[in-house]
């Protein structure tokens, strides 16, 4: 797994490069780094390898996840413009470096084979995110967000660690492959009870990362307070990594004791669906709406996790991909519009600031619409097939109630996503042409088209996953 080494080096080096180069250069450099990282990641395709004293295992699944994560990071970097208003007082180099580091952490989270890797990866990711969240030092909202994120994150880490410890106590191993076999081999009655507690606590710790209800409270506030670009990062990279880790743990390691955690995930997924969708209806701020929507999507993916099918992995991958593309697109447009409206409207992040977008910016409106449609799971977009696969996995387990609930909730979802479309197309507003950087524009169209392609020809990637 040379990618993480490379990326760490890139991170460090970009810190130094920051002395000489401007933001633009750094940005393109980071993109290049990420591309290299992807290439290195993909190099291990189709060969099960162990690294770093067997603490680290690269399988195709983990590679897919790593690629997804780097893709997400790539999009975020591509969509990143000036941090704050000017590049002088802010330090782009640090931000890019931190992003690279957290990508490293994320990759460790998706391909760990030893608890330490999980923990360290998680922490690398989180600590970097604490910083990025608070990066806008003068904004009180950012401060509050970062403190909340930090406190609750640390708390969750504590829970996770306690869980790990108990599992270790029960199985005498940190190697999850061993853990799996040990659990499988020992008779249920002879396994100490705190194994189960450990499993549950680990699950909880990771559920916090993917912001599943009732451990979702930080999400809305942190997403809201953080600078939009890092919100994008959190809702794509962090979430994907979290899900990969979660599924790796409960699916692969504790698959043998499915019954111990399935009920928890089962109910939590339903609760998450309800909380995410229903709360989103009320939101006036697009940013918060997207925050809740990311909660609700966690709910959909958890349905697959709880279904625990062979196909679940590929479903999660597909869903994450569609979700990453759609979220990145919608956030990108959101960033443009809210930046444009700052100073013009007193609440630049609300739906009102999108009114009349289609008149002078048909392109932006279109991309925004497609991304929202994809999030809402309407055909022609990747989101539809994501939902489709989720439903079909869940049905394989004959879990009828979650399906019914999921349907009601996706109907509700349509309701709040379309608030954006309605604002953009059918409301009167006064938005002149917003000028968009070339790279930004290209990336925007690429993600949009990718969403459509996923919608009409899903097997393009489905065949890989």
């Amino acid at each position: 797994m040379t990618a993480i080494i490379a990326l760490s080096l890139f991170g460090i080096s970009s810190l130094f490069l920051g002395f000489w180069f401007s933001r633009k250069v750094l940005q393109s450099l980071t993109l290049v780094f990420l591309l290299v990282g992807m290439a290195l990641t993909a190099a291990d395709w189709n060969q099960e390898l162990l690294w770093f004293g067997h603490m680290f295992r690269t399988t195709n699944t983990s590679i897919n996840f790593s690629l997804l994560i780097q893709l997400a990071a790539f999009l975020v970097v591509a969509f990143s413009r000036g941090f704050g208003n000017d590049d002088e007082h802010t330090h782009p180099a640090e931000y890019y470096a931190l992003m690279l580091f957290s990508v490293v952490g994320a990759i460790m989270m998706v391909s760990f084979d030893h608890m330490i890797m999980l923990f360290v990866g998680l922490e690398i990711l989180s600590v970097a995110m604490y910083v990025l969240t608070g990066s806008d030092k003068r904004s009180l909202r950012a401060n509050e967000a970062s403190l909340k994120y930090f406190l609750m994150g640390a708390f969750a880490t504590g829970i996770l660690l306690f869980g790990i410890t108990l599992v270790y106590g029960a199985t005498r191993s940190f190697y999850i492959s061993n853990i799996g076999t040990i659990i499988a081999s020992t008779a249920p009655e002879s396994t100490p009870n705190f194994l189960y507690i450990g499993v549950l606590l680990m699950t909880v710790g990771l559920l916090f990362k993917v912001s599943a209800a009732p451990f979702h409270f930080w999400t809305a506030d942190v997403y809201d307070g953080a600078p939009s670009i890092f919100t994008m990062f959190m809702s794509t990279v962090v979430k994907t990594a979290g899900f990969a880790a979660l599924y790796h743990i409960v699916g692969d390691v504790f698959g043998g004791i499915y019954s111990t955690w399935v009920m928890t995930i089962y109910f939590i997924s339903m609760l998450t669906l309800i909380v995410g969708n229903v709360t989103a209806v009320y939101q006036q701020s697009v940013k918060r709406m997207l925050a809740y929507s990311s909660i609700s999507h966690a709910g959909y993916m958890l349905m697959t996790v709880s279904a625990h099918q062979i196909s679940s992995t590929s479903t999660i991958l597909y869903y994450s991909l569609a979700y990453i593309l759609a979220t990145a697109t919608s956030f990108a447009v959101f960033i443009l519009v809210s930046d444009y409206q700052t100073g013009r409207k007193e609440k630049p992040e609300n739906f009102q600031s999108f009114e009349g977008l289609a008149k002078n910016n048909p392109g932006l409106a279109f991309c925004f619409t497609i991304s929202l449609l994809s999030l809402a799971g309407i055909p022609l977009t990747g989101g539809f097939w994501g939902k489709f696969f989720v439903f079909s996995d869940t049905f394989n387990r004959n879990m009828t109630y979650p399906i019914i609930l999921a349907i009601l909730m996706s109907a509700i979802g349509v309701y709040y996503y379309f608030k954006g479309i309605i604002a953009a197309y059918f409301k009167e507003g006064d938005i002149e042409k917003i000028e968009v950087p070339t790279l930004f524009k290209i990336t925007l169209w690429v993600t949009t088209l990718a969403t459509l392609v996923l919608g009409v020809y899903p097997s393009l990637v489905k065949s890989i996953f």
Binding site: K148, M152, I197, W218, T260, Q283
Partner: protein, 626 residues
């Protein structure tokens, strides 16, 4: 016999030309274009009649509807019955077309008018030519449509439009019954061809719900032939131009019901209770119509009600399975009622669209031809020998006498009423001195030739029409009966009757006495019906048609209107839609509630997390350990 197709097609052609040509084709030309087709059709029918060899023949144009094992052909059937109807329709039709050229001369819609008339003739011919009930149904509804169009011909006047709608809708009610009958027939026989059905029945394959079938068909007849309870549209239908009333609402369309029952006599014969029902409905209608006719002052209304009651007679005849007699009456009635209507039309024409007989009087010098012809018509309908009406009505009565004396008695009463009100109208219109305004007085004039010729021709038929089926006792040999015999069941011979018997005498009394009474009251004492306001008591009830329209209004029209608003505004809007919207509102409410958990306080968040963790652990341990 391919020229048979021409018979219906010619009027259709006329309709097409006039319809598409309107209003470019000049009025005179339009009249001619409109009149020629029925004339030619009549000649062709005559041709058909003359060399008809008594064998029923069926000509299939094409498959019409073919679904699964149901197959309905577009087929024509030529037999004694249809030929007779052809003659009546085309014959009377031609005369009325001719008459219309004069009557409508001043109307700018003349071309349209002739188009509609031709269309009507076309559908009527389809109706009688059809070789199965479904094709009959085409004509059946088609004539309904034409009557709708023609009643509402002067549609600027909303009341006319209402009358037209009323006619169409009431017919539709009947049609539903008819349709049900058709479905039942298909259910049992697989198709609706007369030939197949009747031969099947002769072969003994009698559906056990034959009574129901016959009843459903009769419901259709009720609507079409204005029987109780679906008769109220006919008087209103007089809103249409008078030639329309003559052709559609006297001579042809309204008798479609009788035609259909005769056509389906096999079915009806199998269900005596339905026949009985038919008879009594007919009787009730006859009496009601006659009674209402007594006090009407609108000349056309009187004729309309008399039509209703005459139709009642025909159904009475059918009820007594005196099919040929009823058909005989259909024909004579076509003659004299058409004559009367046209006469009335010519009067109205002369009176510049005045229809109230209280405004008329003393027209006999001003318009002699109309006077004479109208008189002949009146005598004919009153049933005074040896005019056409006498023979036909008398034959029906004779059958009733043998069928059910009570019916017979009441029928006699009815014919007495008829004779009275007809003479009343006649006298008030033509005798005494003129009661109208000056303006009307000084352009009173005899109608043009195009109108009087039809009058005269029809007068001749009204006088001599009886010859078609002159009974034995009068030295005839019942031509019509023998002509139709192959299509009809064996009717019991009526035995010999003499002029002196009660059976013979009563009708004569019923014809003559009321006539004299009417002459005495209105001719000698010159009394004139009082103004609407002055009418009172039972007479008022009768004058207002026993308030039947109002009754229907309260029973059906208003409730449906109320229901409509209730459904639209309460059920749809307040119940169903509120529920639908309610779901959305509910979600929004839930949203405002749930988001309150997001207090923004870290401590609180952590607290909730801890709580939920402990719940999870508790449940977990409970389920796996304890």
């Amino acid at each position: 016999m391919s020229f048979i197709y021409l018979i219906p097609l010619l009027p259709l052609l006329g309709f097409a030309i006039n319809g598409l040509g309107f209003p470019r084709i000049s009025k005179s030309l339009a009249g001619i274009i409109g009149t020629i087709p029925p004339l030619v059709a009549f000649i062709l029918s005559m041709q058909l009649f003359l060399n008809f060899d008594g064998t029923t023949q069926i000509l299939t144009l094409s498959e019409w509807i073919k679904v699964g094992d149901l197959s309905i052909p577009l087929a024509f059937q030529i037999d004694a019955l249809s030929i007779m109807m052809l003659l009546v329709i085309t014959g009377v039709g031609t005369l009325i077309h001719l008459y219309s050229m004069g009557y409508m001369a001043h109307d700018k819609g003349l071309g349209k008018f002739f188009a509609f008339l031709n269309l009507f003739v076309f559908f009527m011919l389809i109706l009688v030519l059809g070789a199965n009930f479904t094709v009959l149904f085409i004509g059946w509804e088609g004539v309904g449509l034409c009557s709708y169009l023609l009643i509402g011909f002067w549609n600027q006047k909303n009341s006319y439009g209402d009358a037209a709608r009323k006619a169409f809708i009431m017919n539709r009610i009947g049609d539903l019954g008819f349709l049900a009958g058709i479905f039942l027939l298909i259910q049992h026989f697989g198709n609706t061809n007369y030939a197949d059905i009747f031969s099947a029945i002769q072969a003994g394959d009698v559906p056990d719900n034959v009574g129901l079938i016959a009843f459903c068909l009769f419901v259709g007849a009720m609507g079409k032939s204005a029987q109780i309870p679906l008769f109220t549209w006919l008087p209103d239908a007089m809103a249409g131009p008078t030639p329309v009333s003559a052709l559609i609402h006297a001579a042809t369309m309204v008798t479609a019901g009788i035609y259909m029952v005769i056509r389906a006599n096999v079915l009806f014969e199998l269900s005596p209770e339905v026949l009985h029902f038919v008879g009594w409905i007919g009787l009730a209608t006859a009496l009601l119509g006659a009674a209402i006719g007594l006090f009407q002052n609108d000349i056309k209304k009187v004729l309309a009600y008399s039509t209703v009651s005459q139709l009642g007679y025909m159904f009475m005849g059918l009820g007594a399975s005196a099919y040929s007699a009823s058909f005989f009456h259909v024909m004579t009635h076509a003659f004299f009622k058409a004559l009367l209507f046209l006469g009335a039309g010519s009067v109205i024409h002369a009176m510049s669209d005045e229809q109230d007989i209280r405004m008329m009087g003393g027209l006999k010098n001003k318009m002699p031809i109309t006077y004479v012809t109208f008189l002949l018509g009146t005598i004919a309908i009153a049933g005074i020998p040896p005019f056409a009406g006498f023979f036909s009505k008398d034959e029906i009565l004779a059958h009733l006498y043998h069928h059910d004396p009570w019916m017979w008695g009441l029928a006699i009463l009815g014919s007495a009423l008829t004779s009275f009100y007809m003479f009343r109208v006649f006298i008030l219109t033509f005798w005494g001195e003129f009661r109208g305004t000056e303006k009307q007085a000084h352009h009173l004039h005899e109608s043009p030739l195009s109108m009087t010729i039809p009058l005269m021709v029809l007068a001749v038929f009204s006088v001599g029409g009886g010859l078609i089926n002159l009974p034995h006792f009068a030295g005839g040999h019942e031509f019509l009966a023998t002509w139709l015999a192959p299509l009809l069941p064996e009717s019991e011979g009526l035995g010999e009757v003499s002029f002196l018997s009660l059976e013979m005498g009563a009708p004569l009394m019923a014809a003559f006495l009321p006539a004299f009474l009417a002459i005495y009251i209105f001719g000698v004492k010159k009394s004139v019906p009082s103004e609407d306001a002055a009418i009172s008591g039972i007479q008022k009830v009768v004058y207002h048609k026993f308030y039947i329209d109002e009754l229907y209004d309260v029973l059906f029209v208003k409730p449906i209107a109320l229901m409509s608003n209730f459904f639209a505004q309460v059920i749809d809007f307040l119940v169903i839609d509120l529920f639908v919207e309610g779901i959305g509102k509910g979600v929004q409410y839930a949203s405002t509630e749930i988001r309150k958990a997001q207090t923004g306080n870290v401590g609180y968040y952590v607290f909730l997390m801890v709580i939920s963790i402990s719940i999870i652990l508790f449940l977990g341990l409970k389920s796996w350990i304890l």
